[in-house]
């Protein structure tokens, strides 16, 4: 049976420098939750506080209903994998994997058998007698994971375990982590700065910036319904306009946009570039624009347009991303069409 994690109003300062500014987060039992954010946002510090490696300035950490604040690292029901595999150089792979068993008060008798089973699980059968230096980066990280799982933790903490690996291996390993998580069903906190990685394997994502939890949601929500401009930007939304809601429309500097049903309230609107289209004809929901430039982005094209503001003499930049090459010239007058249901009003302007 796994354990839920409750993080209650955690604050942390290093000297006078606040790193975490009141984090509240509940991780349901058996789920895989990513803590996502750019470097320096405090995500690793938060994980280290959950592990007990760092002490919070104020606030509490609970596993289920059990307060962890005064429990030392080695007594917490956790296991943690770091960015570096940190295989103990004086031990063989097998001894590394068996470390938590040998360090426990009553070491079981069938250590060798259990080590071999665990190595098979991480697809490194027969590696027990090898030495850490003989392994590749991916293999080392799998041993590190096996070593952590051997402790049979209630909570698995992963601190950017993939960021030292190369791109292809990262994709393989993140799927592997998800598989392992599903077979053990242990509550997992996964710290990463890679949005794609978090989106790919998480049940929920906790997005942090500058020591604040910006949004805690399912992966899809960060794309479709970002709660702040920072979230929208981080998750790749290129078009965020300010304005105000008037009835069923959102009034921007360049004109009004029709909103869909059940829109939220706020003073910002996000229109994802892939939800927009450049057309030569006016459509029901569209506005006039001029093409400034375009370029290929992978197999798609990104079109940079300008829209003349109605309220002042300036222009607003709008980016459209399309998978089709439209028949237009640079400087040509075109229409940008949108679908009202795909526009999202951002409720917070942090």
């Amino acid at each position: 049976m796994s354990t839920g994690i409750k993080i209650e109003n955690i604050e942390k300062s290093f000297g006078t420098n606040p790193v975490l500014k009141g984090i509240n987060l509940e991780v349901p039992s058996g789920k895989l939750v990513s803590i996502l954010g750019s470097s320096g946002c405090g995500k690793t510090t938060l994980l280290r506080i959950v592990a007990g490696l760092e002490r919070a300035t104020s606030g509490h950490v609970y596993f289920d209903d059990e307060l962890q604040d005064l429990i030392t690292v080695e007594k917490r029901a956790i296991a943690m994998v770091f960015q570096k595999a940190l295989l103990f150089p004086s031990m063989t792979i097998g001894e590394n994997v068996a470390f938590s068993l040998r360090a426990s008060k009553n070491p079981p008798k069938d250590i060798d058998k259990r080590v071999e089973e665990m190595l098979e699980l991480v697809r490194l059968p027969g590696f027990a007698s090898r030495r850490p230096g003989e392994l590749s980066g991916g293999q080392e990280q799998r041993v590190s994971l096996a070593r952590a799982l051997m402790r049979n933790p209630k909570v698995l903490l992963l601190d950017e375990p993939l960021s030292a690996l190369d791109a292809n291996l990262r994709v393989e390993m993140r799927n592997f982590i998800r598989e392992i998580h599903d077979s053990f069903e242990m509550t997992t906190l996964f710290v990463t700065h890679d949005q794609e990685e978090a989106m790919a394997i998480s049940d929920k994502i906790a997005f942090m910036e500058s020591g604040v939890l910006e949004q805690y949601d399912g992966p899809q929500s960060f794309v479709s319904t970002p709660e702040s401009r920072k979230v929208a930007k981080f998750f790749g939304c290129r078009n965020v306009f300010s304005g105000a809601i008037v009835g069923d429309t959102f009034e921007t500097a360049f004109g009004s946009l029709t909103l869909g049903k059940d829109h939220s309230r706020g003073s910002l609107i996000a229109a994802r570039q892939e939800d927009l289209q450049v057309t030569l004809e006016k459509t029901k929901y569209s506005f006039e624009a001029t093409v400034v430039s375009w370029q290929f982005v992978g197999s798609r094209i990104s079109i940079q347009c300008e829209v003349a503001n109605s309220s002042n003499r300036e222009k607003t930049e709008v980016i459209v991303e399309s998978d089709r090459f439209a028949d237009f010239e640079v400087n040509e007058k075109v229409y940008i069409s949108y679908s009202p249901d795909r526009l999202h009003v951002i409720s917070r302007d942090s």
Binding site: F88, F99, S100, A103, R151, L157
Partner: protein
């Protein structure tokens, strides 16, 4: 040209290093060696008979020296490692001052310091005792250990200890199973240095130990004054043995694969 020069310089180097030893070895077996003879006319084991006499001054001096050097080696390594770790891995107030103070004995002559603290030693009954000599020997040995261990811990990844902790190991287990094996080369070299410095220390021993604590260098000096070169040769050979044995076990950490011992270049 290169082909000729290399063996030539190598030969010169080997001669340079080993010539003094050769003469000592020959002297230790000589039963009289007069100028201008290239080699002694007669050989004998007289030097070694005296040197290895179980009740003789040399054996007793060697035992005293070994005991003192072992204790100094252990204490200096322990204290110096703690200080080296602090300097390499933590930030604290007055760190620079602490670093300076720890390394100061390397620059300030130990003799001057010992002259000053001799009065204190007498006051606390440490004068003329093995304890006092051990304390005095810590003065020149600890700085070397600090230097070596600062380098060792500068290359030590704290992450290993945290990794041990998050796998459920207590601090003692982490130290024993994880940290010690990693810094072992540094510890071995530190112990070697502390042992050898203590082993060959003369002036501090003379000042603190007086005539009561007779370490091997004290005995050697007495023989040197006696100008029996056969005996001096044999005693010198005895004097060289323990450090060489120790070197045999630690040399693999001084060169080669072990990259953790780099402190000698870092200060």
């Amino acid at each position: 040209m290169k082909v000729i020069f290399r063996p030539f310089f190598l030969g010169l180097f080997v001669f340079w290093v080993f010539f003094p030893f050769i003469s000592i070895i020959i002297w230790s077996f000589a039963a009289g060696w007069r100028f201008p003879d290239v080699l002694p006319a007669q050989y004998s084991m007289r030097g070694y008979a005296i040197a290895f006499d179980p009740n003789g001054d040399i054996v007793r001096g060697a035992i005293t020296s070994t005991i003192i050097a072992l204790i100094v080696g252990v204490i200096a390594t322990a204290i110096g490692s703690a200080a080296g770790r602090a300097i390499a891995m933590y930030n604290f107030k007055m760190k620079k001052a602490f670093q300076f103070l720890v390394l100061a004995p390397l620059i300030v002559p130990g003799l001057a310091v010992t002259m000053g603290i001799q009065i204190l030693f007498i006051k606390y009954g440490l004068s003329d005792t093995v304890r006092g000599v051990v304390l005095a020997h810590l003065i020149p040995t600890i700085p070397y250990v600090v230097m070596i261990m600062t380098g060792t811990f500068a290359n030590f990844d704290r992450g290993y200890e945290e990794q041990g902790q998050v796998l459920g190991a207590s601090r003692v287990t982490v130290l024993r199973k994880i940290t010690l094996p990693i810094v072992l080369p540094g510890l071995a070299v530190s112990f070697l240095f502390a042992f050898v410095i203590s082993w060959s220390e003369y002036i501090l021993t003379l000042l603190v130990g007086g005539a009561a604590v007779k370490t091997l260098p004290m005995v050697l000096f007495a023989f040197l004054r006696g100008s029996d070169l056969t005996l001096v040769g044999a005693a010198s050979i005895v004097f060289m043995i323990p450090p060489l044995i120790l070197l045999r076990f630690t040399s693999k950490h001084l060169v080669g694969r072990s990259s953790s011992v780099t402190g000698l270049g870092s200060v």
